[in-house]
């Protein structure tokens, strides 16, 4: 982990929050506290996500205090007043106590007001308008992948969103088919992608790295495999990336060139765009620079020659239900050439 911009207080740390959620957790977490959790909500790495995270501690503590109090009272009552063997006496028949009842109407009311004030305070921050200099990214959800546009930068990509560190980023979220939800737990809470309207969300990333995201609204067969990644990088690295993404695909040589010919002569072009070639399909993702991505197939396979081969051999086996349905199985030679080509689309 790189150092955070803002050191969280001890009460924010993941072990503490989990531990206070239950003694059980403490025992087991001690054994596996080192487990990496790339999608955890507990290590925020953006300003707005930190605001959300700051709300965890007070609300969790309130809940714990109330639980201990009420549960303590209950356990005390039932053990203190348990019937002794042979005692069939009848206790005083108390029907109520107005003062007590008023007290325990007021107590939860006060807790509710506190919780609401904390909630509204945090909402005011994260639901504010984004700063005017925010980077503008448009994300369109598809069953089951993500189309990514940078309208001001003339960049189109898919499933992997690059953003520079320390600059606010403003997402416009839309859907081409059903409802999806955009969730990168370490960077921000989720926001749905609604067909027919545009949703927005913004935050300022505060740490470089690769952050895992997942569709969080059930969207059909392959919902479980609708993943994506956000790459937070330095301003310079981001500018370089943008420059590269704006270029059409390079001229290919050797096996990759053969693969390129294969690509345009087969059904691939009906769905995919590779700028600078005859492939201008729009059903599937733009893969002009797919070779530069860390993951393929909607964020589920690391981009390695073996995985590209696996994907081209059996897309329905890897991600059942997705729209990449090969009219005819590819020969192993075709797959080898296409793999070369796809890998070369840097």
């Amino acid at each position: 982990m790189q150092p955070t911009k803002r050191a969280p207080g001890w009460w924010h740390s993941r072990p503490v929050i989990l531990a206070v959620l239950g003694a059980l957790a403490v025992a087991v977490l001690a054994g596996c506290g080192a487990v990496d959790t790339p999608q955890t909500t507990l290590f925020p790495r953006s300003d707005n996500n930190q605001v959300i995270n700051d709300l965890y501690a007070p609300l969790t503590w309130l809940a714990i205090v109330i639980f201990v109090l009420v549960q303590g009272l209950l356990l005390y009552s039932v053990f203190r007043f348990r019937a002794r063997r042979g005692d069939d006496s009848i206790p005083p028949q108390i029907h109520g106590n107005t003062r007590l009842e008023i007290a325990w109407t007021l107590a939860p009311s006060i807790v509710v007001v506190i919780m609401l004030l904390l909630t509204y305070q945090a909402m005011a921050k994260i639901e504010a308008d984004p700063p005017p200099d925010a980077l503008h990214v448009r994300v369109v959800g598809h069953q089951w992948w993500w189309e990514v546009h940078y309208p001001d930068l003339d960049v189109v990509t898919a499933n992997e969103i690059h953003i520079p560190i320390d600059r606010p980023v403003y997402f416009e979220l839309e859907s081409d088919d059903v409802i999806h939800s955009f969730w990168v737990p370490r960077l921000m809470g989720k926001r749905d992608l609604m067909p027919g309207s545009t949703n927005t969300i913004w935050f300022t990333p505060q740490e470089e790295g690769l952050f895992a995201g997942h569709c969080a609204e059930y969207c059909g067969t392959a919902h479980a495999q609708m993943r994506f990644h956000v790459v937070v990088e330095s301003e310079i690295a981001f500018d370089n990336w943008v420059e590269k993404q704006r270029q059409p695909a390079e001229e290919m040589t050797g096996d990759a060139a053969l693969g390129a010919e294969l690509f345009v002569s087969r059904a691939c072009v009906t769905c995919h765009t590779i700028r600078g070639t005859d492939a201008i399909g729009t059903i599937g993702p733009d893969i002009t620079h797919v070779g530069s991505r860390v993951y393929i197939a909607g964020g589920i396979l690391e981009n390695s020659p073996e995985n590209v081969t696996l994907w081209l051999s059996d897309p329905q086996g890897v991600k059942p239900g997705n729209e990449m349905i090969l009219p005819l199985p590819l020969s192993s030679e075709d797959i080898r050439l296409l793999t070369e080509y796809v890998r070369a689309l840097k």
Binding site: L24, I52, F81, I90, P91, G96, G196, A224
Partner: protein, 624 residues
Amino acid sequence: MATVADVRTQERVSTGAAIWSWVTTIDHKRIGVLYFVTSLIYFIVAGFEALLIRLQLATPEGQLLDSDTYNQLFTMHGTAMVFMVAMPMAAAFFNFLIPLMIGARDVAFPRLNAFSYWTFLGGSLLMHSSFLFGQAPDGGWFGYANLTSKEYSPGLSIDFWGLGLLVLGVASVAAALNFIITIINLRAPGMTLMRMPVFVWMTFVTSFLIIFAFPAITAALIFLEFDRLFGTNFYEVAEGGDPMLWQHLFWVFGHPEVYILVLPGFGIASEILPTFSRKPIFGYSAMVFAAVSIGFLGFSVWAHHMFTTGMGTIADAAFAGSTMLIAIPTGIKMFNWVATCFGGRISFTTPMLFALGFLTTFLIGGLTGPMLAAVPLDLHFQDSYFVVGHFHYVLFGGLILALMGGVYYWFPKITGRMMDERIGKWHFWIMFAGMNLTFFPMHFVGLDGMPRRVGTYAAGMGWDFWNMFITVSAFLIGVSILVFLWNLVASYVKGVPAGNDPWDARTLEWAIPSPPPEHNFDEIPHITHRDQVWFDKYGDGHGDAAQLRKTSAAVAEPAEDSDEEHEVHMPDPSYWPLLVSAGLTIAAAGLMIHIAVSVFGVAWTIISVYAWSLEPASTPPEEH
């Protein structure tokens, strides 16, 4: 699980006649038993689905189920648990107990009551028959538009779901009206509203929630089926429709539905706790008004299920506020339950253990509720495993544990035999441990970013350990269900005879024999006090215990030697309710087959309703 007396007096009757007597029964007690057995079967089915889900999720990249099957299983698990387990099992208790608790001989409309049961059976069978065609619903129990449109869900799966739910809705609304009218009109003389047992109050409030909430989902489902069957555009974005319309209508129903599910649990706990504390419920009127205000507030919070849809700051803030307000009446109830135990003579019987388990787990589910209502936190919790953990605490903890307690508590009244206490305690502790070990860690994987409704997940996300842990724990719940079923059967066959009042309890049903005779009360009791039976035994509680005991001789003696003057005329059995239900189910199913079948079903329904209304309620006694 017929009432013992019924089955045993009919021992010499042929099997056919015995079955016929159940098919045509309009006795609220027998209908209650039918509801119970049916919902228990669905409980086992939906529980089995849950175990399959857990097996698939035990390890990353699980290979047991393909994604379509997985999606069908979580859809049917949720739908069945809500509509075919929780609601009808609560209805089983309403049916059996409400007339007994208010001193009535049956519900207001006994044949309508039978109709409710058969319609519930018809709707649930219609939906489950989808498995036979490999078309089980797969849109989630919440069935969000536009995933459920013909374009994204071709085939019949969503139609099985939508039409099945529409039929189930008819059953629920008919039953709710029946209970409202029963409670308003059939209370024994002297039983004012504020003398009713808390369970009756909870039934009353629940029934109102049903009749106000179900129209919303009915409209939503009719829009959906019109879109799918007749090409209308309620949810079709391209044609100007709006999937948000579904979400609003669904949750206007869906959130009150949560209270429809848990209020019966509140009611059951509110009967068990006083009995085994030997004290009246603490703060009776506060308990009643808290439930009523939960019912009201429950209709003003629906959009807290939609914080991530981008409704805007004002709407988010308003719904966060109204949602948190519910913590106040819920808190009042919680404190009153604790105060009911305080100062009592607590005996740790199995029903009491379940009631205390209910208080504990419902408290946890109730405390994560306001956390979810905090909009910023909900942006993470929504559709993550955190929320799965939360609502299983509310529904398993708040309802299933209470229902289990209710079964142990009233089984003696229903069958005339006690359930085995030793096995019962094993059942409780295994189930209590199992449910906490299953559902508590779900909060952890949720905080660690695991989304819900995923049939597979990658290794290396930090979720492996807890998922395996949850799966193993889920089987503990499965074991506890086996123990329960064993106890149920064994106790039914050879349980200790119960007598009228085995728990030294407080409400009217304990003054009559176990199982109750068909007409319940030889003479309709006169009510002078809340907890009438306790009062009859021990007086009003002023004065010392010794004195109290003296008055116990004053237990209301049922007129043992009731002569001809007290002969009670009960309405006759009828098969028309079943036929009307069958007609409705055929009409609904016909929409998936051919419109002619539907027309036939509607005609069948109309004819049956006509015949039903011409049938006399009972054969007139000859001397009249």
